[in-house]
Amino acid sequence: MEILMAFVIGILFMIATYLMLSKSLLRIIVGTGLLSHGAHLLILTMGGLKRGAAPILGGNEESYTDPLPQALILTAIVISFGVTAFFLVLAYRSYQELGTDNVEGMRGTEKDD
């Protein structure tokens, strides 16, 4: 199962890198979303996949699944949603203001305006 997860994470990172290297701002944002998803899956896999009962104490199970990675992912996902939402708004606003969503057009030094 871990091997499968490793492939999934690797493919997500690969697509994310490809998208982030493109010129359209929207594709870059989708890329950052996939990048953070890959990172979240990595936390889940690193914490160990399900190897026991649900982590509710009081049962007579021999082993319990580690609940911490899920809690961490929950936090990280909320944060990445927030950042992605902000990024989308920023992209829209800068499209209005700068007249382009091509990052090539956003080059330039401080002195340009």
Binding site: G47, R93, E110, D113
Partner: protein, 495 residues
């Protein structure tokens, strides 16, 4: 156990929430923000005194015991940084009353300003590596908003780059935490340290070196060390002066704090990564100095000086002996104070002249002697002229470098002072001396009111330098904790 140490996080948090509801009433916002800022300073001061007397303070949130719940820890290093942060934020706040403009004030400037402080103080106080990530994100989210608030073209353009860089570095941070968790199986920083100590009896395993370097990349991006500072000159150029002062003084220092904390607490077994850190620090000094000399733009000169300072501090950390760590802690606090003062002074110069290009400015000291002399003192302090505050820290770092037989680093640190002095004197000679000019926006600039804030900082910095004898016990206590992780571990785990 003390609830005191959570106050510097809670006060700005509640203030920020209250300020959201007051967004159209500017006077009310200013009053609330000032009161809370003073409250934070008092709380931070009480924490420093408490830590001085009783040692490291820790708080297990919701009373979950140390390795299981989230822990907040205040040792002397973080307590001093929280105090400095509170002072800087207060000063930037009273500066922004006169300079930030009504539009920004109506669009939640003060609220976001307070949320930024939540993130910074939280990052300094937390004792849990994942919480460090969370507070980083709180801080970054506020910094994105502060950077883009106002919506001019340059701000939008630079915000996109800044955001993209930080999103990628946050993903790397999550990855690094995931790897660390899979190796040691805990998130509490003190517990991580003991676990790594158990693993590394026969030398550090390779995976931990990988994690160490990943952390260096993540925090180095925030702290702008040598190959990772590329985003900074552009992004920090865009926002107005008080925001720039906050960013330049605090945000990079959070990265430096995190490198210091993780390296001295987790990875002190691994001298290879310390070697890497030392090389990168020296290169930061060199490249920062080159940038500072090369530019004819006052903002850029000081922005490149941030990179120099980060290099000097991290060089002190990487040598890892008593003198160098004491020097690094001392220099870190000095640098926060003086960088904020310089950026605020530059804000005044720009509000008078309307430009930051040195070629279009001259003769300011004839009509603004107060501004000129404050800038002169701040410049001397930055370069480390005794008895001002930069001197003691740099002296200790160089002394530590020589004791640690890292002569090249010590020499470069020493030489960088001269070139830093040259770069700021260039501003002074070209901008303040010479022929008197008139500028278009001159009448509107409330120079006298604006000058209060940087003068406060320069006075504090001068006192910090002159009174170094009485401040040194605090600094030494901070350095002791950094040098001996067991003090930290015992305080957190054996309550």
């Amino acid at each position: 156990m003390t609830n005191l140490i959570i106050l510097p996080i809670l006060i700005p948090l509640f203030t920020g929430v209250i300020l959201i509801f007051l967004n159209k009433r500017i006077t009310a916002q200013r009053v609330v923000a000032t009161i809370s800022s003073i409250g934070t300073i008092i709380a931070a001061w009480l924490i420093v005194q408490r830590v001085r007397i009783d040692g490291i303070q820790s708080l297990n949130v919701s009373s979950w015991d140390a390795p299981f719940g989230i822990t907040l820890v205040s040792d002397m290093f973080s307590a001093l940084l929280v105090l400095t942060t509170s002072i800087i934020s207060f000063v930037c706040l009273i500066y922004s009353f006169k300079s930030i403009g009504e539009e920004r004030e109506k669009y939640y400037f003060y609220a976001v300003f307070n949320f930024l402080l939540v993130g910074v103080n939280g990052a300094f106080t937390t004792g849990d590596i994942f919480n460090l990530f969370v507070f980083f994100e709180v801080m970054l989210m506020s910094s994105y908003v502060l950077l883009v608030l106002g919506g001019t073209k340059i701000q939008l353009r630079e915000s996109i780059k800044y955001l993209l860089v930080n999103v990628i570095s946050s993903a790397l941070f999550v990855i690094a935490v995931a790897y660390l968790y899979s190796v040691v199986g805990t998130l509490n920083m003190a517990h991580i340290s003991t676990r790594i100590n158990e693993i590394s009896v026969n030398g550090m395993p390779g995976i931990l070196t990988v994690i160490a370097v990943l952390f260096l990349i993540v925090f180095g991006l925030k702290g702008a060390i040598f190959p990772l500072y590329f985003w900074m000159p552009g992004s920090y150029y865009a926002p107005p002066a008080p925001v720039l002062a906050l960013f330049g003084a605090l945000l990079t220092k959070v990265g430096v704090y995190s490198i210091t904390r993780t390296y001295t607490l987790f990875f002190y077994h691994d001298m290879d990564t310390f070697g890497l850190l030392s090389i990168l620090a020296i290169l930061s000094i060199v490249f920062g100095v080159i940038g500072a000399i090369a530019y004819w733009d006052i903002k850029n000169i000081i922005i490149y000086n941030i990179i120099v300072a980060v290099g000097v501090i991290l060089y002190g950390i990487s040598v890892l002996n008593t003198a160098s760590i004491t020097g690094a802690v001392y220099y870190l606090i000095h640098d926060i104070l003086i960088k904020a003062a310089l950026f605020l002074l530059i804000g005044i110069v720009i509000s008078i002249t309307g430009t930051s290009n040195l070629r279009n400015i001259s003769g300011l000291i004839n009509r603004y002697p107060g501004l000129g002399w404050t800038f002169f003192i701040a410049a001397l302090a930055l370069a480390g002229i005794p008895p001002l505050s930069g001197f003691v820290g740099k002296l200790l770092i160089v002394q530590g470098g020589i004791e640690g037989e890292s002569f090249i680093g010590g020499f470069i640190t020493l030489m960088s002072s001269l070139l830093v002095l040259f770069s700021v004197m260039k501003i002074f000679i070209n901008g303040f001396w010479g022929k008197d000019r008139t500028y278009r926006r001159e009448e509107k600039a409330p120079v006298k009111q604006l000058l209060i804030a940087p003068v406060i900082l320069v006075v504090i910095s001068a006192l910090y330098g002159i009174g170094s004898e009485s401040i040194l016990p605090y600094i030494t206590q901070a350095a002791d904790t950094l040098l001996d992780p067991n003090i930290y571990i015992n305080a957190v785990l054996k309550e």
